[in-house]
């Protein structure tokens, strides 16, 4: 979508909001979030995860992320692992889809082979952290249904509180409550509810920065598991947008080349 359409749509939003059902309004907000984040083309960033258990032990995971925006489908992502040492050079390639299961391949340098992750249920923890793959993968609008709950605020910022329900039956969640910044249309906080609809995790976004004068990215994402007392702090650094990545950088062969 062209950037100039966004202000027009913004003008429309308050009007239609009055008449719409909560479901329509929720979808509208989700669509607007995606809309505003459209057009970045690609970016590179480093990610580091600090895992902590209830006993206070900590552990670090370092990786690099390359993402390519796709026009009519979910994004393509390549994650290259640097730390722990034993998995250095391992690379995960994901094709996110608007409908159906995502495709994933993992390159194992110790084996010098690419393995497809042939599991229909990939909602487990990412690198042993409190993030599930579904929490950090490309958040396509089609992956959930929505419901607007209320206008609320989070840490003094006016928010839309919306609820979204995963379409994937294998998702670990029944629902998620998202606090969306009314001004910037970005998530500030997400509460995750498990299969029995009990509070499971809370994700808090901190240190949002704007790139290319449009795209907001959080420096820190802190995920806390209320049931096990474990937590993970995900820190994003060295964002670099429109680096010239192409489709050719996101296939099985590029996986092996990624270092």
């Amino acid at each position: 979508m062209k950037p100039m359409l966004i202000p027009m749509l913004l003008l429309l939003t308050p009007m239609s909001a009055q008449a719409a059902t909560p479901e329509e309004r929720g979808l509208e907000i989700a669509t607007e979030i995606e809309l505003r984040d459209t057009g970045f083309h690609d970016f590179k960033a480093t990610m580091s995860m600090l895992l902590r258990n209830k006993h206070g032990e900590e552990s670090l995971r370092d990786m690099r992320n390359q993402t390519l925006e796709m026009e009519n489908d979910g994004d393509k992502t390549l994650v290259i692992f640097d730390e722990p040492r034993d998995v250095k050079g391992t690379a995960l390639l994901s094709f996110s889809h608007k409908v159906g299961d995502d495709d994933q391949w993992l390159y194992l340098p110790a084996l010098k082979r690419v393995k497809r992750i042939a599991s229909r249920n990939k909602s487990g923890p990412f690198m042993g952290s409190e993030f599930a793959y579904e929490d950090i993968s490309s958040q396509e609008v089609e992956k959930y249904t929505y419901k607007f709950i209320e206008e609320s605020d989070y840490e003094g910022k006016p928010c839309f509180l919306i609820e979204r329900y995963p379409v994937d039956p294998n998702s670990g969640y029944t629902r998620q409550q998202v606090w969306v910044d009314q001004e910037r249309y970005i998530s500030l906080k997400i509460d995750y509810y498990d299969r029995k609809n009990a509070p499971l995790k809370t994700l808090v976004f901190r240190g949002y920065q704007q790139y290319l004068n449009q795209y907001w990215r959080a420096d820190e994402m802190h995920m806390e598991n209320h049931q096990t007392g474990k937590s993970t702090l995900l820190t994003w650094k060295q964002y670099d947008f429109r680096t010239g990545l192409t489709d050719g950088d996101f296939n099985k062969n590029s996986l092996k080349r990624a270092r």
Partner: protein, 760 residues
């Protein structure tokens, strides 16, 4: 001073009665706040090292409270489309159990296999209805051949299977356990209804936790009425006085209400041991009342007026009743040394109870007796002639009794080492409790409930992939699997071997540990990326990937056997892998150590109580010699009882190790009554030793055997408890009290005659 007080009590009887009732009810209003503890951890203090080790393990990985559904198909075949459909439905539904973290079953077991270059990770059973007979056989072969499943979630012959739900109770509210347990029970009922050919047995730590309050309440419903019936019967027969019986009953009720109310105010949670408190204090209150009433009725029979008889009874009983209350309370308070908080509560509650009983029996009781019409009874109601005849027998055979009893006592005490420590928490419940039945079925047909867990540390980040470390862990697993009573060993090395095989086109030759560190780590990474929600490896690997959880499941074995196995495991680790040596941690290990820890603690407590009680006696009796002599009849019954227990039963545990402190205070009572009468005869009446013994028998002999009988009946009723803890404690206490009476009647008199002070 006490005389003025008693005169006031007898004069203002209505006021005294009103105040006693009002105050008791005021204290009793705390019963509203009474709550039952429903966590097995209640038996462990926060400082308990085994509890701390286990908490640390749980904080490193995840908590392991669980609900285990054990599914028994009628036809003895798990791998049929119908049964698998039931398992599959149960597995899916079990995620709805409150506080559940994960659900493991044979249907959602993450089966891995190679498909070309892919690693396929999927549920072992996806759609039971679509399985062909061959496929069913194949699934059975896979399940019963997988070391992670067999003897844990599937029996080797595939006739029983389990669905294990890991539950994380936040521990913030007492409703958590009943919530989870009720939900599991409902689920089991629903599934049984939908699939009538299967039976579900419910066990696991959550179900056990839930069984504590439910079995306790059951106990209360059966034991308390039984106790009241027994008390009324004994009182009617012994006192043959309706007003006396009635007054005593009211005292008992007031005292129980007040004690339980105070317990509520103090915020003490009820537990299986403390549900015995009403029965324990009931028996003790009866003793106080009987002593006062017997002398009162005795006086009236001798022609004294009601007022005179009561004043005299109070005069001669005040000191011994006060003394016995004091010593009993000291004995109970010694339970504060116990390692297990519920027994500290038991001690404190019982101490409050006896104190209340004392105050009520010197205020409410005399006031009531003044108020109610009391007939003077004719005849030898109190059996003092029988007692005199008995005294004659004892005095005549003093030498034979001294030696005979001495030999019997020594013989019995020599049997004490026959006792073995045993604390199997499943056996804390008797076979009428559903949890016990289900658990027994589980251990007979599927898996064990006793676990030993280790957090094996490699010493470096990511070290769990190190081939050297993995080999050691695997060797340890192999060693454990060769030990007797070991049903299952859960180890990460089995997953590593399986993945290695999968990575080599499922070639069985590759079912071995990867020989390179990066290879292991990357296999594990691939595997972790393939696992679904809730079925991850975080419960087996710590965040640094430096340590792994290693779980051994054992048959139902005694504490001795368990500790022996753990000891040889420690020896194995010391020899083969000293750097990863760590003691086993688990509820099973906690209970295995609690008995011996409690004995050591109670030895201190009982010794201190003994010293205090002896000092009290020496001062109260104003005789170092007689007070010192009292040590013998005070201590001997305990030694004899434990000896007899060693001969008859031979197993002691947590509950029995508190019996010493508890009975000490009660046993002393008989001695106090006997000695105070003996000394009164020597001092006030100037009798010689033999006559003083005769006098003591005549005045307190009846009261002593009556109260002992009441106490024995009371504690014997505890034998009907659903809790082996309470039943054993009750039995041993009853035996001790019986032997105390024997010692007081047959051993103390000869001792007094030979050593009981200067000849006059």
């Amino acid at each position: 001073m006490s005389e003025t007080f008693f005169r006031f009590v007898l004069k203002h009887k209505a006021l005294v009665i009103f105040l006693a009732v009002a105050l008791s009810l005021l204290m009793g209003s705390g019963v509203k706040q009474l709550q039952f503890s429903n966590d097995y951890r209640m038996f462990f203090s926060e400082e308990n090292p085994q509890l701390q080790a286990f908490e640390q393990l749980q904080n490193t990985y995840t908590k392991t409270d669980n609900v285990l559904f054990v599914v028994e198909p009628e036809d003895g075949k798990v791998f049929t489309r119908e049964t698998l459909a039931a398992i599959s439905a149960l597995t899916k539904e079990a995620w709805q159990i409150p506080y559940s973290l994960r659900v493991d079953s044979i249907t959602n077991y993450q089966h891995t296999y190679a498909q070309g270059d892919d690693l396929v990770v999927e549920d072992l059973v996806l759609d039971p209805a679509s399985l062909t007979d061959e496929a069913l056989l194949e699934k059975q072969r896979i399940a019963t051949g997988d070391p992670l499943l067999v003897n844990r979630l599937i029996s080797p012959s595939a006739h029983t299977t389990g669905v294990n739900v890991t539950v994380h109770l936040p521990g913030k509210s007492l409703t958590e356990v009943p919530e989870a347990a009720a939900s599991a029970q409902e689920m089991a009922n629903r599934i049984e209804e939908a699939y009538p050919h299967i039976t579900i047995h419910l066990t696991g730590m959550v179900i056990m936790n839930h069984a504590f309050p439910t079995a306790s309440q059951d106990d209360m419903k059966t034991l308390y009425p039984l106790m009241f019936a027994a008390v009324i019967l004994v009182l009617v027969i012994m006192l043959r006085s309706i007003p006396g019986t009635l007054s005593t009953l009211i005292i008992i009720i007031l005292m129980i209400i007040a004690t339980m109310g105070l317990t509520g105010w103090l915020g003490i949670k009820l537990s299986p041991p403390t549900t015995t408190v009403p029965i324990v204090i009931m028996t003790l209150a009866i003793a106080d009342c009987v002593h006062i009433l017997v002398n009162f009725l005795h006086g009236m029979r001798d022609g004294e007026s009601k007022h005179q008889a009561m004043m005299e009874s109070l005069r001669i009983n005040l000191q011994p009743v006060f003394l016995t209350t004091l010593t009993t309370a000291v004995g109970f308070l010694s339970l504060n040394f116990s390692e297990a908080p519920p027994f500290r509560d038991l001690g404190n509650m019982a101490a409050m109870g006896v104190a209340l009983a004392f105050f009520l029996s010197i205020t409410f009781l005399p006031a009531m007796m003044m108020l109610l019409p009391v007939k003077s009874l004719g005849g030898d109601t109190l059996g003092s002639t029988t007692m005199l005849r008995f005294a004659e027998f004892v005095v005549r055979n003093k030498k034979g009794l001294l030696w005979g009893m001495g030999v019997i006592i020594l013989l019995l005490i020599a049997q004490i080492p026959n006792n073995r420590l045993d604390d199997q928490f499943v056996k804390y419940f008797d076979e009428s409790i559903a949890f016990r039945q289900a658990t027994d079925f589980t251990t007979d047909n599927l898996t064990g409930i006793y676990l030993i867990e280790y957090s094996l540390e490699s010493g470096e980040t990511g070290g769990i992939s190190d081939p050297g470390f993995l080999r050691k862990v695997d060797d340890f697993a192999q060693w454990y699997r060769q030990q007797p009573y070991v049903l299952h060993v859960n180890t990460i090395t089995d997953i590593m071997k399986r993945l290695n095989r999968n990575m080599h086109e499922d070639d069985d030759d590759w079912y071995r540990l990867p020989d390179r560190r990066d290879l292991s780590a990357q296999y594990l990474l691939l595997y972790e990326f393939s696992l679904p929600f809730g079925l991850d490896l975080n419960n087996q690997i710590n965040v640094k990937k430096s340590a792994t959880r290693f779980t051994v499941t054992l048959e139902s074995i005694s504490t001795q056997q368990l500790l022996a196995i753990e000891e040889s495991a420690q020896a194995w680790l010391a020899e083969h892998a000293p750097h990863m040596r760590i003691s086993g941690a688990s509820p099973t290990m906690m209970f295995a150590h609690i008995g011996s820890r409690n004995i050591v603690a109670m030895l201190k407590g009982t010794s201190l109580a003994l010293v205090m009680i002896s000092v009290i006696l020496i001062f109260a009796l104003r005789s170092l010699r007689v007070g010192g002599l009292s040590l013998i009849p005070n201590l001997v019954p305990m030694g004899m009882a434990f000896g007899l227990w060693g001969m008859l039963v031979g197993e002691v545990g947590l509950a029995l190790s508190v019996v010493t402190g508890m009975t000490l205070g009660i046993v002393v009572d008989d001695t106090v009554h006997f000695l105070s009468k003996y000394l009164r005869a020597r001092r006030e009446k100037g009798m010689d030793r033999e006559d003083a013994v005769r006098y003591a028998f005549a005045t307190v002999g009846t009261a002593l055997w009556v109260t002992s009988l009441v106490l024995m009946v009371g504690f014997s009723i505890l034998a009907f408890s659903h809790f082996q803890l309470n039943a054993g404690m009750g039995m041993l206490t009853a035996i001790t009290l019986g032997l105390a009476l024997v010692a007081d009647f047959l051993f103390l008199p000869p001792l007094l005659i030979y050593f009981g002070g200067k000849k006059s």
